[in-house]
Chain length 186, copies 2
């Protein structure tokens, strides 16, 4: 059985993207934090994302700039298998990427029954929302960035019911980021 | 100079109240957490709140049930001086309460120049929003409750600009609540 977890940066007011979909506010130059992200990225897993997140990431990680600024994360991001849900059929230009227009919930339900790498959803508000509502998330890893955005996109908007979680870990970094890990409350 | 801080429970998706204004999801029976809140309440300070929060609190803390369930917090809440901003003029029934229809920003700006107890804003979305926008908040104390509400009221809705904060403390409790303290980033 493969586990599925969410890895998501959020502002203190709960947004994963500002109202224009921008994620730059979550960027950090903190060495310790970036090493943590690099460790996360190189720990394996199959990355899962939606088209919007894919477009953002595919435009950055394969570039020379990314390889120079974040060599370890870039290596992980480029080499790990990636599953991208996109309603528009088109070709994947990023290495090790599989694009599908299949339904995320059905697809993940099947994949979770298999043996293999854990599945890690990056960003991707609408995918997280669908998987969380369907009860398919085994773990949440939130990076709480010390900023209040005021307006933005909520990953859990209109999930329809509340989700109780159990805190399993918290770690503070010098840049004020907090990594909080949760599992669904039993 | 009196300092002003915010004490606020929020869900993981950044709401301080659900869409009906209900706060029951933040309630906890955790002994250690309740002792922390009691310590907070008995540490003094002048409590500041808006009419909605006042109505909720004034209907609970003076009752025999509150005195039995949370004796220390009830004693603090009932005995501390309270400043309540309400556009409707009426009488305060709760002990040690001053109701005013003056402007919150102007009032707090004057109070902060004085000597005296620190000012602690409890709940009160619209008051927090106005004071934060005016740059009058010296410290934020968030209780992050391990729940995703999906919908709710955001205390920082439409503040107009982002606020960068600096993390100064974090403490996890057995019930999964995290108390996070921040000051405005310099």
């Amino acid at each position: 059985m493969r586990k599925l977890r969410i890895f998501l940066s959020i502002s203190l007011d709960g947004y994963f993207a500002d109202e224009n979909g921008d994620l730059n506010w979550a960027h950090s130059d903190d060495t310790e934090f970036n090493a943590f992200v690099a460790g996360n990225a190189s720990a394996g897993g199959e990355l899962v994302m939606g088209r919007v997140t894919y477009d953002l990431m595919a435009a950055y990680w394969p570039t020379a700039v990314a390889k120079q600024n974040d060599p370890v994360v870039a290596e992980g991001m480029n080499s790990l298998p990636k599953l991208v849900f996109s309603r528009k059929t088109r070709e994947a230009t990023w290495a090790n990427t599989r694009l599908t227009n299949d339904d995320p919930v059905d697809t993940i339900r099947v994949l979770k029954r298999e043996q293999g790498r854990d599945l890690v959803v990056l960003g991707s508000g609408s995918i997280v929302r669908q998987l969380a509502t369907a009860g398919l998330v085994d773990g949440f890893q939130f990076v709480v960035v010390p900023i209040v955005l005021g307006r933005g996109q909520s990953v859990f908007a209109d999930i329809g019911e509340t989700i109780r979680l159990q805190l399993t870990g918290n770690r503070a970094f010098g840049n004020g980021n907090l990594v909080l890990t949760y599992i669904p409350a039993s």
